[in-house]
């Protein structure tokens, strides 16, 4: 990842921290991230670490922080995860369709055909596991 983009990614995640934390550690945390990126640590892993740290910071009870603030933070985090999950789910069929358009060897369009060699998972009749090498692998 290019330097400025990596720094921007980390700075974006630093904005997820509470204002009190940013006043105390913000500048130092940005500088530390820049040093670690220079050392070759992936920016994504640094950003992820800061994101997890921000979540912990919001969810840790502090004197003076109202419960409603924490509940709001939790709700926003849950909504963000939901939106991300939704985007990923909607992107999957599109990706599969692109693969078909390029003539993928394993994925064939059309209605699902009955697959004779299927194993029903014990205790989970709705779960079907295809035997390796016989089902379509998408």
């Amino acid at each position: 990842m290019a330097g400025p983009r990596a720094i921007r990614l980390v700075e974006t995640t630093l904005r997820c921290y509470p204002a009190r934390w940013r006043r105390r550690h913000g500048d130092e945390a940005a500088e530390l991230a820049a040093l670690l990126i220079n050392d070759g640590r992936p920016a994504a892993s640094i950003a992820w670490s800061y994101l997890a740290g921000a979540a912990r910071e919001w969810l840790t009870p502090r004197p003076g922080r109202r419960l409603s603030t924490m509940a709001c933070a939790l709700l926003i985090a849950a909504c963000s995860l939901g939106v991300t999950g939704g985007l990923l789910a909607s992107a999957a069929p599109a990706r599969a369709a692109t693969g078909q358009a390029h003539g993928s060897a394993h994925c064939r369009p059309g209605p699902p055909e009955p697959v004779p060699d299927v194993i029903r998972a014990i205790g989970h009749p709705q779960v079907i596991i295809r035997e390796a090498g016989h089902g379509r692998s998408c």
């Binding site: 550690h25 500048d27 040093l35 670490s49 800061y50 994101l51 740290g53």
Partner: protein, 114 residues
């Protein structure tokens, strides 16, 4: 909430609850004050553990709240941290406890012939 010297003197291993990152930070600060980047590098050398920066600041905040470390005036934008007397006492107690557990483990392995 701070951990007084009395807690350590009373034999309570307060570091049992704070997690590995906090213990490694205290060990790293045991000989001299260090700032964030120096801590990450020292812990990598010391224990082959790559602390994430988010984990580092979380642990530093917790240790500071417990009174086990204190931050010194900033140099540029970096805050060096220093271990406090209760922090040193707590670390000593925790390391003693680890040593006892480690010795017992080795003895049992020996007895088990493994």
């Amino acid at each position: 909430m701070t951990v007084g010297k009395r807690d350590a003197e009373a034999g309570q291993d307060v570091l049992r609850r704070v997690g590995e990152a906090s213990v490694l930070i205290l060990i790293s600060l045991a000989d001299e004050p260090r700032h964030g980047y120096a801590l990450i590098q020292d812990i990598k050398e010391l224990a082959d553990v790559e602390l994430g920066p988010g984990t580092l600041y979380g642990a530093l905040d917790r240790l500071e709240r417990l009174g086990l470390i204190e931050s010194l005036p900033a140099e540029d934008r970096r805050h060096p941290y220093r271990i406090t007397a209760p922090g040193a006492a707590a670390l000593r107690l925790h390391l003693d406890s680890l040593e006892r557990v480690s010795a017992a483990g080795r003895l049992r392995l020996q007895l088990g012939g493994i």
